[in-house]
């Protein structure tokens, strides 16, 4: 798995894609209206194996070191989806920029289902 790398005077700092996925997952769950991260067949299979946010959220880092995320979500019944999706995008961007100093290009939200609270 590719890692995001930055140089300091003392050496290099590498951030694994799994860390980016975990931060994104936790940030998404902070938003009221998000039931859970995941929801499709692939993520269900991954959860069954034991890989939680690591493989559910797709993280892509391009040559310009820009991060692109794809987050599958299940939304609680009764909430406005575009509103929740934009809140998730904003929170994920803020948290990732604050915690990792990465430049975020795209945060794509994929609503997979709606469940009752």
């Amino acid at each position: 798995m590719q890692r995001e790398e930055s140089r300091t005077e003392l050496g290099t700092i590498r951030i694994h894609k799994n860390v980016i996925a975990s931060v994104a997952s936790l940030a998404a769950l902070e938003i009221d209206g998000v039931k859970r991260v995941g929801g499709n067949f692939r993520s269900g299979l991954m959860e069954l194996i034991g890989k939680k946010a690591l493989s559910i959220i797709h993280v892509e880092i391009n040559k310009n070191e820009e991060v692109k995320l794809e987050i599958p979500l299940v939304i609680k019944y009764g909430f406005n989806i575009p509103d929740i999706a934009s809140k998730v995008q904003e929170n994920v961007r803020n948290n990732l920029e604050k915690m990792t100093n990465l430049s975020i290009k795209d945060i794509n939200i994929n609503v997979q289902g709606i469940e009752k609270t």
Binding site: G39, N40, K68, L69, V74, I75, Y77, G78, F79, N80, I81, P82, D83, A85, S86, Q89, E90, R93, I104, D106, I107, N108, I109, N110, V111, Q112, G113, I114, E115, K116
Partner: protein, 205 residues
Amino acid sequence: MRTLGILFYTAVLVLIGILMFLFAVVFSFDRLQPQCIKYINDLLFYMQSSMNYRVILGLSGLLLILISFSFAQLILSRFQREKTIAFPTSSGEVTIALSAVEDLIRRLAGIIPEIKELRPDVIATKKGIIVDIRVVLKAEANIPELTSRLQEITRSKIQEVLGIEEQIIIKIHVAKIISLEERDRKRKETEKEEPTIPFSGYGRA
């Protein structure tokens, strides 16, 4: 590319079909002579003894498996990708699975008590969103009033939750009307089917 994948699978299936058909014809006219079997046998023995043939055969098999897997994945991913509603935002794209919209509509059955069962099917087209709902109603329901109420609730709920301006076409199909007697009979049947625990009335000292 998708067309190529479909063509590949069609060609493979047609080839298998032609082979089976030819075998059926050969068998029905008793054309399978011992010489033919001997020729096939010799060919197989020759292939077994030649290293080059074995390698070519194995590699061709692996290549065929890889090609069919990649085509299958391509076709399936295309089909999956089409089953969403997408809109761009400043931070990226938001896609909503049509199954999520179906989940949302299914929840509406709880709001209207006259609906016994509700099965939605959502299709996204260039014209807008087409919602096909199959419902099973209770006998006391006034169908024209109820269906128009269901259409209105579904439309407003989709617009409210998805926040889309596109046209929403809602088609309702009343599949069945359950009478009160039928409902009572079903309830009695389920009560009868419940197993009784022997000596359940006796308590232990």
